[in-house]
């Protein structure tokens, strides 16, 4: 329902942890999400002008590329953006029909497309651009955290994760219960200093982004003799004349 649920004790906070340090920007998460979901719970994810000018479609996951910092000191960062399944999602509370709702049991934010009127106020209320309007069906759609995969008994247990996580070649996407401090994802967040996006807005996103790591300092050990300049020795080759090498 539109009012936020009071999660039962021990309720999960399912979400994604996205590693910006290893994401290479291949768009696998975006297209795999698209292919799963265009025949999934919120099917279809239509595409306008698919073979002409102005091609655009409904995507639950979009990969941006940014540069942070200047010149060689900076970094190029690929940045997948999808629903963060916030703890206090205004996209839910602004919904006039109850179509937009947050699940008490696992925290997934969904849209019931059967009752959505397509007013799009939820899209305005979402700071992260996670709402995707299907103007063909006239209803709002969004990332379902692959609710039709993660509990799917027809899928091998190891692969019961969102499609984006399952397919990511760079191991840059992790799925789990961020409400449980002992879960693998929570530990990863703690270890890597995972951040919430735009925390100042107070939506309390569940998803976390792991920042790019600082380059490891080369383990050069104690500085060695830089060696003579070629000009400082008459014939540098002479060094090897007496070197005894054998098999």
């Amino acid at each position: 329902m539109t009012s936020l649920p009071t999660p039962p004790p021990g309720a999960k906070k399912l979400g994604l942890v996205i590693d910006l340090d290893t994401c290479v920007g291949c768009h696998a998460c975006a297209t795999n999400c698209k292919e799963w979901n265009t025949s999934g719970h919120m099917a279809p994810l239509p595409d306008r002008n698919p073979y002409s000018a102005g091609q655009e479609g409904v995507w639950f996951n979009r990969v941006h590329s940014y540069e942070a910092g200047e010149g060689e000191e900076g970094r190029t960062v690929h940045f997948p953006r999808s629903c963060l399944h916030c703890e206090t999602p205004a996209c839910v509370t602004v919904c006039p029909t109850g179509a937009s709702y947050k699940r008490a049991e696992d925290g997934i934010v969904l849209v019931n497309t059967d009752i959505c009127i397509g007013c799009q106020l939820c899209a305005w209320a979402c700071p992260y651009g996670a709402r995707e309007f299907d103007d063909d069906a006239g209803v709002m759609k969004k990332c379902t955290l692959c609710v039709d995969r993660i509990y799917n008994e027809h899928i091998p247990e190891k692969q019961r994760v969102p499609a984006c996580v399952s397919t990511c070649p760079a191991n840059a996407r992790h799925f789990g219960d961020l409400g449980d401090p002992d879960s693998a994802v929570s530990k990863l967040v703690a270890e890597r200093g995972g951040v919430a996006l735009m925390p100042e807005l107070g939506y309390q996103p569940v998803n976390r982004y792991l920042p790019p790591r600082r380059a490891p300092k080369p383990d050069a050990g104690p500085p060695r003799d830089p060696g003579p300049l070629p000009s400082q020795i008459t014939n540098p080759l002479l060094r090897w004349v007496d070197k005894v090498l054998s098999r």
């Binding site: 940014y66 205004a90 979402c126 700071p127 309007f133």
Partner: protein
């Protein structure tokens, strides 16, 4: 934000309609407007017409207008739902008020008028709160937005009332109210603009991406090379020069000029006053449309940060 015509027409028309209804409900029992059935029918009728026109227009923004009735259900959390409930609830007393004013009125009509006025104020308040509650849009999430909606509705209603009353030669009170409200609206809008112009952005590309610790964040490539719903809807941008011109039109034509004209109409009255009221109405309409268009066009949504739009144009 994309200035969608359906929403601009909706808020301007229904704002004026509710304003007109509000003043009719309030001033009629006090005898400050003509109490004739003709005047009542005209004023309340036009008010209802504007409200319905506005609501009709708003459904053009819906993907599934046939399901619009569902919007009444979430009044406990959603200002949009509350607006719908308030609007629907206002129709009952307003309809009876309309019948009442035609039928000559009485205590019941007065009661219905007062309830209509309360309903009108509540509905416009909800409209304002829809916008004011949206944190990602700092120009809307502002303490002057809801007062603004109320004030602009009351002002435009008063202007219309003045115009109608002028035909009955009884425009003095509405004109005075409209002139005062116009002046107040002018001041409020200027205060609002200077406030939003000075306010810091609600978020930055650095906080939106969490990458600020590396340095300045710049977009390299968008996710898709063509446009999309989010960009069309929420990354609309207006040029600074264009915005300044529209601000002048909105504040001068929409509020200052009508206020002056209506103030001038007071001493003149008669045909000349009518002409002033007519001019004021026209100017206010143009100005309010410009104001509302700007309300959207100048609003920035945090999602635009992901596409590299600097927090300020």
């Amino acid at each position: 934000m994309n200035p969608a015509p359906s929403i601009i027409v909706f808020t301007v028309a229904s704002g004026a309609g509710y304003g007109l209804l509000f003043w009719m409900g309030l001033l009629r029992p006090l005898g400050l407007v003509p109490s004739s059935a003709g005047f009542g029918a005209l004023a309340v009728g036009i008010a209802l017409l504007l409200i319905m026109l506005g609501l009709l227009s708003s459904t053009a923004h819906l993907g599934r207008p046939e399901r619009a009735w569902r919007a009444l259900s979430q009044w406990r959390s959603s200002w949009l739902s509350r607006e719908g409930v308030a609007a629907v609830a206002t129709f009952a007393p307003a309809g009876l008020f309309f019948v009442g004013v035609i039928g000559g009125g009485g205590a019941f009509t007065t009661l219905m008028g007062l309830l209509s006025a309360i309903g009108a104020a509540a509905t416009v308040f909800c409209t304002g709160m829809i916008y004011a509650s949206l944190k990602p849009i700092r120009q809307w999430h502002h303490p002057l937005v809801t007062p603004g909606y109320l004030l602009f509705g009351a002002f435009s209603g008063a202007v219309l009332l003045t115009l109608f009353a002028a035909f009955w030669g009884a425009a003095a009170v509405p004109a005075a109210i409209a002139a005062v409200l116009g002046a107040a609206a002018f001041i409020l809008k200027r205060a609002y603009w200077s406030s939003v112009d000075a306010a810091p952005p609600v978020a930055t590309m650095e906080s939106a991406t969490g990458l600020g610790f590396i340095g300045k964040v710049r977009p390299l490539d968008p996710p898709h090379t063509e446009t999309n719903y989010l960009l069309r809807e929420m990354a609309f941008r207006i040029g600074r020069v264009h915005a300044q011109r529209l601000r002048r039109i909105a504040s001068l034509a929409g509020f200052a000029a009508p206020a002056v004209l209506l103030a001038l109409a007071l001493p003149f009255g008669g045909a000349l006053g009518g002409i002033f009221a007519f001019a004021a109405t026209g100017l206010a309409l143009v100005g309010l449309l410009a104001e509302r268009w700007l309300m959207f066009a100048e609003a920035t949504h945090t999602v635009a940060l992901y596409y590299g739009q600097e927090p300020r144009a």
